[in-house]
């Protein structure tokens, strides 16, 4: 990725290509949606069509621009970096710049393409919405923020885009904030990702500290670290802290809880943010700072693998028991993101495979979400128990969803097949067999829940109440476009066709993609097994889910999402919210419930002690603090006369006093 150290404005590509102009002006891609966001905010309500046209035009232009930019890499051009000085704090240079390599090019195309589809799709989906214009403002702003992250050549700029994305995600999840559930989900998403952002920020600070607080430039920092002399423990700390950001943003275990709840937002948002782009930012972050992960101690990447494996398998199992169609897709997203992260954790070769999966997944998952949105639009319900038999009334949605589902299941020759296969090959090559097993098992489960979703939604008899109908053309057109992409993009990484993707996105050296027939057969067999199992179980629709009885208690565990949400609620949210008394109360209850009489007595005694402590000492301190503030306020209020000239006297006396201090004593 980072082929050469580029100083300011220096061009490092070898030969001139047709796409060079686009590469050198990559900042335009970021600026376009930013401008459209401002335009929609300023004039949106007065424009015919309520401002959506600005967003669509800008993102469309950005998409074309990105394709031109990618062309540079198709022709074999090298990376480019340029920046201008933003400001300087002592020795620390903050810059505003772009770093464009093959990875960036791919991400730009993915983000703008999906964003364009979502922009068009929302015309139909959000039609008549109260805050239609505002929706487009935030959608465009979000696109700009994501693109900022993608092109950024330094950590601070990246952090800015990262945080703006977080805010946009919050605003969009809570778009229909009148319903308490939605605003709760927005807050949950914001705070949970925030928890990941804190280590991320400290990771950034550590990296800046490596450079001796002189630069935030990613290339320069990577170069600095590559020279050696920085203690490996230090690098490992930075890497694991940065991974915290990925865990939050890409919703990996244990911070995955926000993503399913984020489905409370409008469906186009789920497609754009919670499937194709923002959650991919966490994966992209690892790719961008890959050098640091590679130079870190081995345990860092092992940790990454383990976290990803837990997420991949755990989330896939959860997807089986969901009734809400969007939640099925949300858990599927979690699991697929974990695939990518796990791929990256396999080292240099894994980078190409992981990003190839990100690339294909973005298209087919956006397609699935938009298709689900189309279904929801038709039946006015998220629950699959209200659907069924929709294939006749919504043919376009059905066929496109079918393509997306098969791609997700990994059926030849659709996108998912090639990228999953590539990941399996890499895992086998690197001899990480347990990860190979996890990949394969997850693939089987993925095929299973995909089949279940399709059968419950489109086959059988209709169970809902609303009159289902095909969605308007603004919604089906993006579906068709994405379906076409889903069929096509997989071939970019097909080893038989030279695997051109690998020549655009690689770390340090191009790695030949190989086709291993037995792995391809194995993965196809696994997918077919999953599909077949799903078909046998769900071909006839029963009142009770056929899995519920045989699974027994497991079913409840899955329904309760492994009790992780409940655990967080009780162990973190409630104690923090209800402070001490809540914690003591919870502690008392759990211990009493769980223990025999003797322990119960002890617990009660302890509870009383704590309560006594709470009442006398803590309350004393709290009340004392309040009383002190109250009394002080009663005295001090006389200083606030409301006479500005009296305040001005204070101001100037302060000036004199300070200057005396500075002249005489400093």
């Amino acid at each position: 990725m980072v082929n050469a150290l580029a100083s300011e404005g220096e061009v490092v590509y070898e030969a001139t290509t047709n796409g060079v102009w686009f590469v050198e002006h990559a900042w335009v891609v970021v600026v376009l949606p930013l401008i459209s966001s401002a335009l929609i905010l300023a004039f949106g309500k007065r424009t015919p069509g309520k401002g959506a046209v600005y967003g669509i035009a800008a993102v469309g232009a950005a998409f074309l621009f990105s394709v031109g930019l990618l062309w540079h890499f198709v022709e074999g051009g090298g990376p480019f970096e340029a920046s201008i000085d933003w400001f300087t704090i002592g020795p620390l240079h903050l810059e505003l710049g772009i770093l464009v390599d093959g990875l960036t090019g791919i991400m730009l195309v993915v983000v703008t393409a999906v964003s364009l589809c979502v922009h068009v799709y929302s015309l139909g989906y959000m039609h008549g919405d109260e805050r239609f214009t505002w929706f487009y403002v935030v959608l465009s702003l979000f696109t700009a923020a994501m693109l900022t992250v993608v092109v950024s050549n330094n950590l601070i700029q990246l952090l800015v885009g990262w945080e703006v994305m977080g805010v946009c995600s919050y605003l969009l999840i809570g778009h229909w904030w009148e319903v308490k559930e939605n605003s709760d989900a927005a807050i949950k998403a914001f705070i949970t990702t925030r928890i990941g952002d804190v280590p991320f920020m400290f990771g950034i600070f550590l990296l800046i500290a490596v450079s001796g607080f002189t630069t935030t430039n990613i290339t320069e920092i990577a170069h600095e670290i590559g020279l050696g002399g920085v203690s490996p423990l230090y690098i490992s700390m930075a890497a694991i802290l940065l991974f915290g950001g990925t865990v939050g943003k890409s919703a990996q275990f244990p911070l995955h809880v926000w993503l399913p709840d984020a489905m409370a937002g409008p469906t186009p948002v789920s497609a754009l943010i919670h499937a194709a782009t923002m959650v991919a930012a966490g994966v992209y972050l690892i790719g961008r700072l890959f050098e640091i992960f590679l130079l870190a101690d081995h345990w860092v990447l092992t940790t990454v693998s383990i976290v990803a494996a837990i997420t991949a398998l755990g989330a896939a199992l959860l997807a089986i028991v969901q009734n809400d169609i969007k939640r099925v897709l949300a858990y599927s997203t979690l699991s697929q993101l974990a695939y990518m992260v796990a791929g990256l954790s396999l080292g240099e070769v894994g980078l190409t495979a992981g990003f190839f999966h990100l690339f294909t997944h973005a298209f087919f998952k956006a397609l699935l979400f938009l298709g689900a949105g189309s279904v929801i639009h038709a039946v006015h319900s998220n629950n699959m128990s209200d659907m069924g038999g929709l294939r006749k009334s919504m043919p376009i949605t059905f066929w496109t969803m079918m393509i997306g589902s098969l791609a997700l299941a990994g059926i030849f020759p659709l996108a998912g097949f090639w990228s999953k296969d590539e990941l399996l090959v890499v895992a086998e090559e690197e001899h990480v067999l347990w990860l190979f097993g996890v990949f394969l098992l997850t693939a089987v489960i993925t095929a299973f829940y995909t089949m279940r979703m399709v059968l419950l939604t489109f086959f059988g008899e209709y169970k809902g109440h609303a009159q289902p109908h095909e969605s308007p053309r603004t919604m089906t057109a993006p579906l068709v476009a994405l379906a076409a992409a889903t069929i096509g993009v997989g071939l970019l990484g097909a080893p038989q066709l030279n695997a051109v993707f690998g020549q655009w996105v690689f770390f340090e050296a191009v790695h030949e993609a190989v086709f291993v027939p037995w792995i391809a057969l194995l993965s196809t067999a696994g997918a077919l097994l999953g599909l077949f199992a799903g078909y046998t179980l769900y071909k006839e629709r029963k009142a009770q889910d056929p899995l519920q009885a045989p699974m027994g208690p497991m079913w409840n565990v899955l329904q309760q999402r492994y009790y992780i949400d409940a655990f967080y609620m009780r162990a973190i949210v409630v104690p923090v919210r209800d402070t001490w008394s809540g914690a003591v109360n919870w502690f008392n209850q759990t211990v009493i419930d769980g223990a025999v009489n003797g322990a119960a007595l002890a617990a009660r005694a302890m509870g009383q002690v704590v309560a006594w402590f709470d009442r006398t000492v803590i309350d004393g301190i709290v009340n004392g603090a309040g009383d002190t503030a109250d009394r002080a306020g009663n005295v001090l209020k006389y200083l606030q006369t409301g006479n500005v000239q009296w305040y001005a006297v204070g101001l100037f006396v302060g000036v004199i006093a300070l200057s005396v201090i500075f002249i005489r004593f400093v």
Binding site: Q645, V649, F652, V653, V655, I656, S659, V660, I663
Partner: protein, 167 residues
Amino acid sequence: MSAQEYAFTVLAVVGGLSAIAVVTARNVVHAALYLVVTLLSVGGVYLLLGAEFVAWVQILIYVGAIVILFLFGLMLTKAPIGRDTLDNQQRWLGALVGVGVFAGLVFLIQEAFPVQDAERFETFHATTDAVGESIFRNYVLPFEAVSFLLLAALIGAIVLARKDDAS
């Protein structure tokens, strides 16, 4: 002392005394007229320092426009006359603070540029076209910002002072 310094001293004494008169006069109109004298002598100081364009702007804008605005303000608000109505009870405190600020500033100046060692510098004659070039070459953006500010102030002043017919 050079000839320029003599001229400066005269201007400074006149300007300084009338500045004090501005803040102590018992008649508001007199205060405004003292202000004119102060502003004119400041303009003279600019001329002595070689800043021609600033000097003329000072006289045009301050004497020509701002003081007139003040006189309008006084007229429209029927300003009363007399020490007790013009000054408040804390004027002695104010005087103390004012003297304190002056002492502090003089002390600072003496520390930084001692009068006894100060050299008589060659004044920098800035021609109008040099000023224009500097503004429109190096300071275009601030210039635009200032013009925007003036527009906003204009609109703001109209909105504020307009008689509200609706109520």
